[in-house]
């Protein structure tokens, strides 16, 4: 075991314990009306795991998230590929995309609700509009910043357009594309959950909203902790793939 790995075995528990200690301190400061204590949260997570409705809500969020992600990834890659390969289209679209990407999309919730109504369609739409922009922008940039010599090689080998895309453009742009996907996956989940907070009668986001309205602090805390745990676990995996693609460690 290398020294840095040994350090990590110490650092991760130490950091986790520090966070839990800070959390306990916060609890002692604000009391149970603001946040529930770490042990109480553990108990209420245990209860959540044992309840059937919780898993139904997890399934509802999962379904909406899967659809939103599918649309964001397929649509994002297709649009990004097109804008990356056609320089004029890319030049025209880039500032518009950046402007759209930096709009706080939460403000659009009433519009999405009026268009799609309450239910899964609104959640999917919300997830998609959050996740698609990083995928489009990073795919486009990844393709546009491919070194010209790589593209020239393809021309020298007289590859067809499809062959060029498959064996030159996509592999060369892969690190950027994957970074886009990594950010896009996170934001799609964020968008889906926001959709559920404001526009749904089921799902994890709905549970959060209900707990917020009922001032069920233990409920909010345990769901937030669970979400963080899942997001960090997925995040670590994606970050490692990302780093490998970018040639870091």
């Amino acid at each position: 075991m290398s020294r840095s790995t040994r350090q990590l075995w110490f650092d991760i528990p130490a950091f986790t314990l520090t966070c839990i200690a800070l959390w306990e301190l916060l609890y002692l400061r604000v009391g149970p009306s603001g946040i529930s204590s770490p042990p109480d949260t553990l108990v209420s997570i245990w209860h959540l795991f044992g309840s059937a409705p919780f898993w139904q809500n997890v399934a509802a969020t999962g379904t909406a998230f899967a659809w939103a992600l599918l649309i964001a990834v397929v649509g994002g890659l297709a649009i990004g590929l097109f804008l990356g390969l056609v320089p004029l289209a890319g030049d025209v679209a880039a500032p518009i995309l950046n402007a759209l990407a930096s709009l706080p999309k939460i403000t659009l919730y009433p519009v999405i609700l009026l268009i799609f109504g309450l239910g899964i369609a609104a959640k999917i739409a919300f997830g998609t509009i959050h996740g698609i922009f990083p995928i489009v922008i990073l795919t486009m940039n990844g393709i546009r910043t491919i070194r010209p010599v790589v593209r020239k090689t393809g021309r020298a080998l007289r590859l067809t357009r499809a062959q060029t895309i498959r064996s030159i453009v996509l592999p060369a742009a892969m690190p950027e594309v994957f970074s886009g996907l990594r950010i896009g996956i996170g934001l799609t989940l964020f968008g889906t959950l926001i959709g559920e907070l404001f526009a749904s009668d089921r799902g994890i986001g709905f549970l959060l909203m209900r707990d917020m309205q009922n001032q069920d602090v233990a409920g909010i805390t345990s769901i937030a902790v669970l979400l963080f745990a899942v997001a960090i676990a997925v995040g670590i995996i994606l970050l490692n793939v990302d780093r490998r693609l970018h040639g870091m460690r």
Partner: protein, 250 residues
Amino acid sequence: MNLVTTLRIAVIAGAALLVELLCRLNVITPFTMTSPSNTFVNLVHLLASGKPWPDLTFTLVNTLAAILVSVVVGFVLGVLIQRIPRLRRVVSPLLAAYYAVPTFVFYPLMIVLLGLNRLSLIAIGVTLGLIGMIVSTIDGMDRIPRVFLKTAATYRMSPVARTFLVALPAATPHLITGIKLAVTYSITGVIAGEFILSVAGLGRGIAVAYNDLDNKTMYALLALLLTSVTVVNVGIHEWERRVYARWGLR
């Protein structure tokens, strides 16, 4: 005007005209959306009536405060985390995963801590805006050319002087990215808070109009909000362009 700019304006105008046409043809009914032209007229009337100004300034001040705190604290934390590799290795997955969780569900906690006022809205804006700034600062610090830091060492600069005289200017492009993220996410946080529970603000105004099925007011307020955000973003973009131009980067 060159071809690209002309086409860009054509695309934007075309999209607006398409929506206008769909509204006029009643494909999009007024229950779903008021047409862009009507929205503009409604907005002018609303602004002339003076009603939305207090809400606008309330939201604007909160957002600016949240952005300011996010940028300053995010920069300091980013520099610290980048300096301490062991801390960084532990924290980086957390930073990468952060934006998947709608942290503004802790808004009720902020209200308990700080009261139902602008402080809790600012705090919730900071919880979202801060992380983007931290991540961008770390990125920027990573990419400072070694020779700059060696020069600083040659001059025997203190860590503070090195941070502000060498690192800060050298990392500016990345810091601007961080500021852009801080702007977007701070607004998201503040507006989300106002949607959920607030005494004033544009977000609250929009939520109230939505609940009253008052589409005229709602779309006018939305247009006001999105226009304000776009003006800020265009301003930052222009600043970014100048920084890049001065550096000969683009």
